[in-house]
């Protein structure tokens, strides 16, 4: 492996500093781990080496939009433990928006307003249940195999929650707790109903549980034989949890078939180990398939249990309960060592798993999985139509719609472009099939990647985004915490071309890129969207009911409808603000000094806050969101009498 590595490196025109970091202690440490335990990683097929063009850092210019030019694609990026979702324009990589989900956002008042607290979830005392989150995978709703611009979803790994984002207003409108799940990691919406042909759009979201725990998790037992994971289905519209599947091993990423019949999760810990050495002890792990129609039929037939306080039906998807293909709800396809990532090819035929601790990618043909469920395929692993080596540390795969796949190689810090048909031919025995078409160095240690329209039937092979986990020397130093490096690559030609380095606040994992005309965002709210809306400035005032006080006011640049309002110390105040400005981009803020209140109201939006007026004095509520030449003068005096 090292020989091949050296050979390929030698013809790479070195970028400044690129090699300085490659053999750091931590990664070298892993390399030795891999070398010791991964017996299959000893050589690379000649075809792969021969097929690879000289790798290098190709740089082209001119794709960065000029001032005033709009991007042609949207990107939706997860934000990792920043807990948010970011909207980028592509190909520029410009970050246009952040959508707060699981974590408070002081800018918009997410976690401050009553409306956002209701979405986020509160404790009995009204404070937020959680203020941390960890978003990894973001996917959007489908119709006929392409995005339909209704919703996106993102996971919270820390607290096992699923958030939905409305793609008309780019706001999070629902968050669902997954019961009895810890380490909720991969998600994927279905692409149509497995049974009802009329439902040609997303109606389910599948969620993978990564960490095994006692079910229910109310006993601090050390005995990990009692730990189990669940695979969860959430209703796309109501956001209720529909059902769960008890499984052996864990769930990592999730993929769904275009026909709606299959979902799958790759399993890096079929060993169900609790220490990393145990988790990597087996030479092969699995890609676990779920037969969606059969699971729902089983639930309809009452073949489920529930766990603890949860009312969600749970079916049994373990090996032991699913030996007969004709009745099986699940199917465990064997794939090499600790796979990371499962992706559906846009030709609708294959799921592809990458090996992580094996240098291979595995191509699984979906029609054969269906054959197995129908009793027509003798051995489940015969669904594997290719298992070929591509380089060290393969993680995730994207597609160009021209039959090629692009896989991140974490340890090699490369993208490898390979041809799926050629890989299948090679696997069948044609050793002349040159499946590796190109390699490109990236900077550094790539995790997820995604191409424009990659996981849709409309994959168009224009751009590739690559989430590099380490940026090291690629940007000016800013102290110990480095940004990630999202690199953008032009894949429209035979050779991959590095277009841009884009620093991004840690830590995006997955993302999607799609054509801008698939969205129809709204830029002004409707007053009717908000039950509390104050539709006329004349309805403003202070309305008292004992100690309960409602303050109603409106904003219209450069003034609030109430120039001052009086409260008494101890009042329980709910303040409702409607922005009557209708002009696009004319947002107002509302801050109350010393009362820990700040939030914004976009055009025609209404928001409210509730607080106790516990400090007497004069408090200048002011507009925090620049609105007008008299913005500084836009204030309202809150006078709290002792």
């Amino acid at each position: 492996m090292m020989t091949k590595d050296k050979t390929q490196r030698n013809d790479v025109p070195s970028a400044p500093g690129r090699r300085r970091f490659i053999n750091t202690t931590a990664l070298a440490g892993l390399a030795s781990v891999v070398a010791c335990t991964d017996k299959s990683a000893s050589s690379v097929p000649a075809a792969a080496a021969a097929g690879a063009a000289p790798a290098g850092e190709h740089v082209i210019a001119g794709l960065h939009p000029k001032p005033g030019e709009l991007d042609t694609y949207y990107g939706i990026w997860s934000g990792g433990h920043a807990g948010d979702v970011r909207i980028l324009g592509m190909p520029s990589g410009r970050e246009i928006h952040r959508v707060p989900c699981f974590v408070p956002d002081a800018l918009v008042g997410w976690g401050i307003t009553n409306e956002s607290k209701k979405v986020m979830g509160t404790k009995p005392d009204g404070s937020l249940k959680y203020t941390v989150g960890d978003t990894h995978h973001v996917h959007a709703s489908y119709k006929d195999g392409n995005y339909d611009g209704r919703y996106a979803w993102v996971n919270d790994k820390i607290n096992a929650r699923l958030a939905r984002i409305r793609l008309d207003y780019f706001v999070c409108d629902k968050i669902t707790d997954l019961p009895n799940v810890q380490g909720f990691h991969g998600i994927f919406p279905d692409k149509r109903d497995p049974v009802d042909e009329k439902i040609n759009y997303t109606s389910r979201v599948f969620c993978g549980g990564e960490f095994g725990i006692p079910l229910p998790n109310n006993v601090g037992t050390e005995d990990h034989s009692k730990y189990r994971s669940l695979f969860t289905c959430v209703d796309a519209e109501s956001m209720d949890v529909r059902w769960q599947v008890l499984i052996d091993g864990n769930c990592d990423l999730v993929a769904t078939s275009y026909d709606g019949k299959l979902a799958a999760t790759n399993q890096y810990n079929t060993e169900m180990g609790v220490h990393y050495e145990d988790m990597m002890s087996a030479e092969r792990d699995a890609c676990l398939f779920f037969n969606v129609a059969r699971i729902e039929a089983a639930i309809k037939a009452g073949r489920f249990k529930t766990i603890g306080d949860s009312k969600v039906p749970v079916v049994d998807g373990t090996h032991a309960a699913n030996q007969d293909p004709k009745t099986a709800l699940t199917a465990y396809v064997s794939v090499p060592k600790n796979p990371h990532g499962v992706n559906a090819s846009p030709d609708q035929k294959y799921f592809i798993c990458a090996g992580k601790l094996s240098p291979t990618v595995t191509v699984i043909e979906l029609s054969r999985i269906l054959d197995w469920f129908d009793g027509k395929l003798a051995a489940l692993d015969d669904a594997i139509v290719a298992e070929v080596e591509v380089g060290l540390g393969p993680l995730h795969t994207a597609f160009d719609g021209r039959g090629n796949a692009y896989t991140t190689l974490f340890l090699d810090s490369q993208i490898v472009k390979w041809n799926i048909d050629k890989a299948i031919q090679f696997h069948k025995g044609d050793k002349n099939a040159k499946y590796v078409l190109d390699r490109l160095d990236v900077h550094y240690q790539p995790g997820h990647l995604s191409a424009s329209q990659s996981e849709t039937v409309a994959a168009d092979g224009k751009f590739l985004g690559v989430g590099c986990k380490f940026s090291k020397d690629r940007f000016l130093p800013v102290g110990p915490l480095h940004p990630e490096n999202e690199q953008f690559i032009d894949i429209s030609g035979d050779k991959m071309m590095l277009v841009e380095d884009h620093p991004i606040r840690s830590e995006p994992h997955d993302f999607i890129i799609f054509k801008r005309d698939l969205l129809r965002p709204k830029q002004v709210y409707s007053l009717d969207d908000f039950p509390l809306a104050i539709k006329d400035a004349k309805q403003s005032g202070v309305f008292r009911n004992g100690k309960k006080v409602t303050v109603k006011l409106t904003s219209q640049a450069p003034a609030y409808s109430l120039r001052e309002f009086k409260l008494k110390k101890g009042d329980e105040v709910t303040l409702i603000l409607t922005n009557l400005d209708k002009i696009e981009d004319l947002t107002h803020g509302f801050a109350i000094p010393k009362y820990n209140v700040n939030f914004i109201v976009n055009p025609q939006e209404t928001a409210s806050v509730t607080f106790v007026a516990d400090k007497p004095g004069v408090f200048w509520c002011y507009c925090t969101h620049f609105c007008h030449a008299l913005h500084l003068e836009m204030r309202s005096r809150m006078i709290v009498e002792a």
Copy 2:
């Protein structure tokens, strides 16, 4: 004004959509307000019109760094009501880092770790005092008139706090509450000591209080004749409040002289009005100068009072108390209507105020202010050496070090480039002096601007950043909340050239741009920086003292030193984590599901959290910050026994 406006517009090659938004209701509303009240805005001098080159949207390419190329300048941007500070690379405009200050940051655990909570400030119950903030103005420490790379400071307008950022680690290390101040807005560090020549570096930070309030503010009085503002001096090193000045009117922005003798604040509300109509009723407001040495001598001599519970000495800077120039602590120079912004020219000679509701800029010669304090200038307003018209809504001014100034025109959505000496000649009576050199349309409604090294003696006239408050049609639509548009302009030639549109999360106000070699950031911490550091993995363990439990662990990819640790329900736990990895960029995270804990430890950093183990069960603490190929497998089991 409208005639001139039309004339100039006619020769502007219109950018797509640019004019679509210009006459929106809100701005039109203001235009009529200005037209009605601002008598001086009726015409523009022929010189200005004649001097102006045809304005337009000049676009050049090629300045955006190629992948792997480092930027040549740092930018430090305030984050508005996001409450943070952003670090950009210039000329790319890439956002490399965010420094959390006043607001929690789930990514790094700011507001979660004990160390960050101590900086932010907590209530008696240990929860954060505030979770909102509003940063506007960020400035850095000086030595010999240029940045010395020690510190930056930023204000919180909502809760009147000053934060300091260490520029070696890019972290906020101190936050100071300003007593008896509301709406703390402008800040500026001094550039040297007014008396001690050896102190040729920043040792004070000046802070302007914008909102008048009762002093102390514990009475909910409506009687605004009792409201007053304070100007505050904070010690740059200790971050203690040194002194305050009671003033008439308000403080807005702040500037300091290169000789250390003078600080100044522009006053948009000398009327001390409480409604915006009152605040704009006077035709002239003021630029208020502070004689730093005299103020400190007065305090030394005991000529101060204190306010309420505060022990900070407060001197009297009101008009009434400062009639005699020879003893005055303050000097109120008259400038036109609601000025917004005061900036010190890099030739060390002038402070420049922009009119906001007057189309003028006012140039004040500092040597004449000193003359007035020395009794050598009969009329204080004779310090004004120019007061010339530049366009509608002038706000802030930057400099190129070649004698030219660049002023944002909020209402005209333009940058005007003008020559200071020529403006002085014109003001003296030379009507042939063409002081306006160029105009450039920006997109849209610019607030602050700053040039590379602008407010230093090393102003180099390369780049200009312009914070446009509205972006409108310049980026893909992302719902009702638009990003701001930071536009970057090449000012190295005679004509300003628009280089790039850069969307940025709301809402930056001010920023500085300086050469990268002025900073020497550190990328790995020293274990000795942290009193709680666990310097050897062998010191890990669970240390119990009754219900008080200390959990000590270390991280080294791909494992934590404790694979599991046991607690009992009800334990009061302090968990301390030291990252023993030494490699640059090798940061680890630590999340505890359901316990609302997540934070990171950068290389060689130590952080701690304290919580009550109130939920029994198994909780997989996991690494949230991608670190290694076995990152997913990097976990520690927290087992809480019932």
